[in-house]
Amino acid sequence: MRRSGWILDVYPSPPTSTNRFEDVGGLGAMTLWLIDDDGRTHRLSDSFTASFFVHGSHSELHDLCRMIHAARLPVQLRRAKRSDLFLRREIELLEIAVADPARFPLIVQTIRRLMARPLRAAEGSASKTCHQPALSYYNCTVPLAQFYLYAHDLFPLARVEVDADEAGRVRALQLCDSRWAIDYALPPLQVMTLRLEGDEGDPNHQGDPGHGARPRPIEIRCEGNTHVLQDDDPREFLSRVQELLQRYDPDLIVSSYGDSFILPRLLEMARRLGQPLAFNRDAAQPVQFKKARTYFSYGRVVFRSASHSLFGRLHLDLEDAFLFGDYGFDGLFEMARLAQMPIQRVARTSTGTCLTSMEMSTAYRENILIPSVKREAEMFQGVDQLPLADKGGLVFQPVLGLHEEVAELDFSSMFPSIMDKFNVSAETLNCPCCSDARVPPMSANSSRDIGGVPELGVTVCYKRRGLVPMTLAPIIAKRVKLKEKIRALPPGPERDRYKRLASCGKWIGVVSFGYMGHHNAVFGNITAHQAICAFARDRLLIAKEVAEARGFRMLHAIVDAIFVQKKNTRAEEYGELIRAIGAATGLKIDLEGIYNWVAFLPSRQDPRLPVANRYFGALRDGEVKIRGIEARRADTPAFIRNAQEEMIQVLAGATDRAEFRARAAQVMQMACGYLDRLRSGQVPFEELAITQRLSRNPREYAKATLNAIVANQLLDSGVELTPGESIRYVIVEHHAKAKHDRARALEHLDGALGYDVERYAELFLRAVESLLTPAGISAAMLEQWFAKELPAPQVQARLAAGTTPVYWGPLFEFVERAEMRNVRLALST
């Protein structure tokens, strides 16, 4: 029977035998779920033989073969040749083919154990074993579903045509889709949402139900119907859930706190009462559980809650899905397609894992071995080299103050483009084949022929394409196409969809660079990471030089973006500048936009010290760009964030500095309004909640920060907290003598307590100060001002500006601040 449809999910069918030694013939298979055009699901199975490889000396491999035969393992042995990326040549190996995918990991493990030998007594206890160190294992760590997808060049949600027999066994499978397609249809999915009734934050933080907290009812929505279920009678409750699951038969269950709260409780209840609960479509499989973990990534502690993956349906927990807030379902599906990884796994794993999957797929196609552990050590570096190499991108300090007519130029996908254009990959550096050290011909559009990697004296291969550039090139190309689409479309849902798709490419690009230096990245090494940084620094400086040669002044530059200014620039000059920089660097640079005005703010600690990433500005197209100030910070209460955003919108209407200053009065007026609301005590707690991520175990906090106080409160009420989890709290009395009384977890607040008005007013004034500093208004002046509560016309009068340049900031810049003097005068009278 022929069918066309979309692949929903793939996984190894349950093992045909629990005995690892039993030969089941050709019965082992992958289960494939297909959704057809009418939204009907079909369960298919496809036989699949996965192979892994062992490399070692002839005698050792001979020993291994003998042992495998003696143990009668159900595998086929073959001699094979594959290329090893880092040895840069083909090597001869033993290929071990396993026909039953579900038992693949078990068989790998068994074989590795076979070759493990007892340690000699002199070296340690005799009971310990170690793996035979001379043997290397390849391709044995790839998850089977991905293996299957690579082998057939398939991906989740791919449109396919399948020819299957009556029992659902796949005879032929034809792909009618491409990972690089921009416009593709998605299957009609039956979506069910599953959440707790009400909107009261993390249910795991609400304490022990034994302490009187009544469990919140569960709300299930599907096909526009809403069902609210209360678990007063657990049996009745469970059969209701079961009935709804069967009635709607969802393809996708979208939950809030499903992973950490709802599913574990429902499943436990079903187990206790012995009632069926068909979260899986595939009855032969139990729900897959992975326990919660905490790890350190990109400078912060991350918490991943326990996960519950389903078989035959998808379960996504919005509270726990990776990057979901950034790219939504469109992005999630796109990422699964690009990474050739099951959707539920993509949602619960980092972009680094997706990138590794893409690299493994490339390796599989190119017959390159996938090492099971990273073996490439760091290259040797002298004491004079390390300081040059061990640096990131260049980060300048901006010229403080408010500037007009500033253009921001951004290198598009700078790091991935560097890898692509200059062929930077772990195995292409200092290759033995191209010792004459030139930038590879792929950068032929660059007129500057510098030797090898700038600064480092490392050569780059120009004869062979690197694995990472090979993986990234189509992704970069796709992102460029998507960006063109986005530019061509008017604002609306269609454009937003493309934006979300492009966001995937962005994240892969970001990660691809960081991952090069990661100790787990089997295809990366630190020298490649350093080489990319060295290219990035060099290209940013070239951009600066080109701009300066054309009469622009560089106000600021951060890694891949540069802010330049020239008075009375003709529109075409920007285009010329971009082309000139593109030609000189060999990289694509875009005009991010022209600011009517942009304000670079000083450090919070030292008002005379510039910092790289605290600025806001209004672009000519009306967009407002904000970095590093309160509205962008995750720990800013919603009330202050919204207020600041609204005030920025007012400033954004200004087209130059004079108008900015003129509008400052209006902002002050608005600020008075917000302040009144705060002081009235009527702002809801929800809007005042401060969200903080725990960086350590609550008991380990040395100082009684608000964070520590609240975490310990939660702990005392029976809530389990893990580093990386977020907590939300409201400041109740900032300077209370009893530390316990300073703040309360949002979940613990009731009407009995109020918030600390003065503390919130202080935080709010800081947000106002950030906006008005560029107009020359300081914190002290704001305080005086709000204490006096002047009427608007007088404020206006105070701000009426002169134009005498007054020295402002440390040693760096003149800013017109006559208005400040006027203000001082006005205040003193």
Binding site: L386, L394, V395, F396, L811
Partner: protein, 105 residues
């Protein structure tokens, strides 16, 4: 992430800390001037980092000098001193006169 060496900003802070005794023995107004100099070093942190000089303090001193020189130029401009192209040959050879760089702004 995974840095072996201190960043340029960290190097500046280290130097500042190493000079804590020097600073302590200064008068308050002199302390403020010293702090200003270190701000100047912080301002040029990108250049200091990019040089990766084995003696980073030398690069910091240069950064401080640059800002001092810019201030001199500004003050000269404000005093209405003649710009380079306006000075005649004899004046230019006078060692007592600072050669003026072109106007920075």
């Amino acid at each position: 992430m995974g840095r072996t060496l201190p960043s340029a900003t960290q190097q500046i802070l280290n130097e500042q800390e190493a000079l804590a005794k020097f600073r302590r023995a200064l008068r308050k107004e002199d302390q403020r001037a010293l702090d200003d100099l270190f701000r100047a070093a912080r301002y040029h942190v990108a250049a200091i980092g990019y040089t990766a000089h084995l003696l980073p303090f030398e690069a910091m001193l240069l950064a401080m000098l640059i800002e001092e020189h810019k201030r001199v130029l500004r003050l000269q401009a404000r005093l209405g001193e003649p710009l380079e192209e306006e000075t005649d040959e004899t004046e230019r050879l006078d060692p007592g006169r600072l050669p003026l760089a072109p106007n920075v702004d």
